[in-house]
Symmetry: C2
């Protein structure tokens, strides 16, 4: 099948994140340049919710990547689209640095809760407040920016947004709507932005479930890189099999460009 | 069937709790005295985990109740029994006021996590720490003192221990062992302490699931009082039907004593 577009996960594919700003993965910056030179369409498809796209892109440019805000598909803007479509006014429980993404959204008299990886904002008081907003609704609407279980930072493992999503789901007897990978709609919006149908697109990521499984359920092919959060046990995953494994993004791009 | 013993829930049956210490429910103190005068066996069966039994009993005596520590079945001592039986050394994420219940338990080099209603101790840092202890085990052991969804205090609704239990369960892909109502073993230990078989015991509580459903699954009869957290919608519960509804504990005792 012809390939016309690539979707790239960012953390663990382009760079390894950390409190120090992170370090690029060898060969990835050059690989992004080669994709752009080839004429293939390209989107960066990330679940990052601890920063606006602007500051996220600025950090990546500082690490040597050719990337612009217009090329990034991220959960917060996708959530804003949903909020506008449905006339939803969010109570936000998100990271301080993400709040500007919601600047133009009406947040008065909330009729839903938007949950992101709030990190230090996950306080007892803030969780009770988000809970009270939800339980006070006739039909609680909880929108979660991703559903990750945990992630690693330089000072250790941290509970991710998915854990707090489960806490609120249980307390309110409600099911969250997940925006971001692996939600089908999230991948579809990235494809629409590229103007490429799923059967002509390839997702490249380090997360067997959120990147590979999610993309395949949309009809895309998906490669798993052996960088980032990849673990050898992923190759025995009971449900998800990537179309191929590659050592890193540079190798993936070698193989794809050779077959064009 | 003969009745030889009663199990009483405390909060919502004897008194309504609150930051001000709570207020007795009319007729309940007299009802406890009448049970004791009748010769029926009696246990107080509570999921309280924000205080030791000592301070809990002291508060209730101050409200006019004839109650002693030896008559109380509560999750923390039940958890201590399990910890000793299985050689488990807990990392505690509980309320400060509950910690003395675990004074004689070895807590060095933890091989399980015990989760209670930690209230203000449910901080981002403490949750991450409990998570890291769990995820670092070959086979994570999470013991939860109850699984309530939320409760009401004078300053509003609060997330209960069950919500945080779900967060840790999801993050670690593990199922918690629940100590306290509605766990079968918890009711059974209360029955053993009374020396009464389930078919000769009646549970009286305000919680349709944790009190009524839990007791019935142990072979007891169970009455729901229309005080505390009772809501009229409980009478349409899809799974649980009490053996009878009573307006309050005083009415329940009237009916039971008349049939002796």
């Amino acid at each position: 099948r012809a390939v016309r577009g690539l979707l790239l996960d960012v953390s663990g594919v382009l760079y390894d994140s950390g409190a120090d700003g992170g370090v690029p993965i060898a060969g990835s910056a050059e690989a992004v340049r080669r994709i752009k030179a080839s004429g293939l369409k390209l989107r960066f498809c990330t679940n990052e919710t601890q920063a606006t796209r602007e500051s996220f892109v600025k950090k990546l440019r500082g690490l040597g990547f050719d990337i612009s805000v217009a090329e990034v598909t991220a959960p917060a803007p996708a959530a804003c689209t949903i909020l506008r479509e449905r006339g939803l006014r969010p109570h936000l429980l998100v990271h301080d640095d993400l709040v500007p993404e919601f600047a133009e959204i009406d947040k008065t008299n909330p009729n839903c809760v938007v949950l992101g990886d709030a990190a230090e904002n996950f306080t007892y008081a803030n969780l009770n407040e988000a809970f009270r907003v939800l339980i006070g609704m006739d039909k609680p609407v909880l929108i979660s920016l991703g559903k990750g279980r945990y992630y690693k930072e330089t000072d250790g493992l941290k509970l991710d947004v998915g854990a707090y999503m489960k806490a609120l789901e249980y307390a309110c007897d409600v099911q969250a709507e997940v925006v971001g990978k692996p939600a089908k709609r999230f991948f579809e919006s990235a494809l629409t932005e590229m103007g490429v149908p799923p059967e002509q697109a390839i997702m490249i990521g380090d997360d067997i479930v959120n990147d590979v499984g999610g993309a395949q359920r949309c009809g895309m092919r998906a490669l798993q890189v052996r960088t980032g959060k990849y673990r050898p046990s992923d190759e025995n995953h009971p449900d998800v099999k990537p179309d191929a494994y590659v050592n890193n993004l540079a190798e993936a791009v070698d193989i794809i460009l050779k077959q064009l």
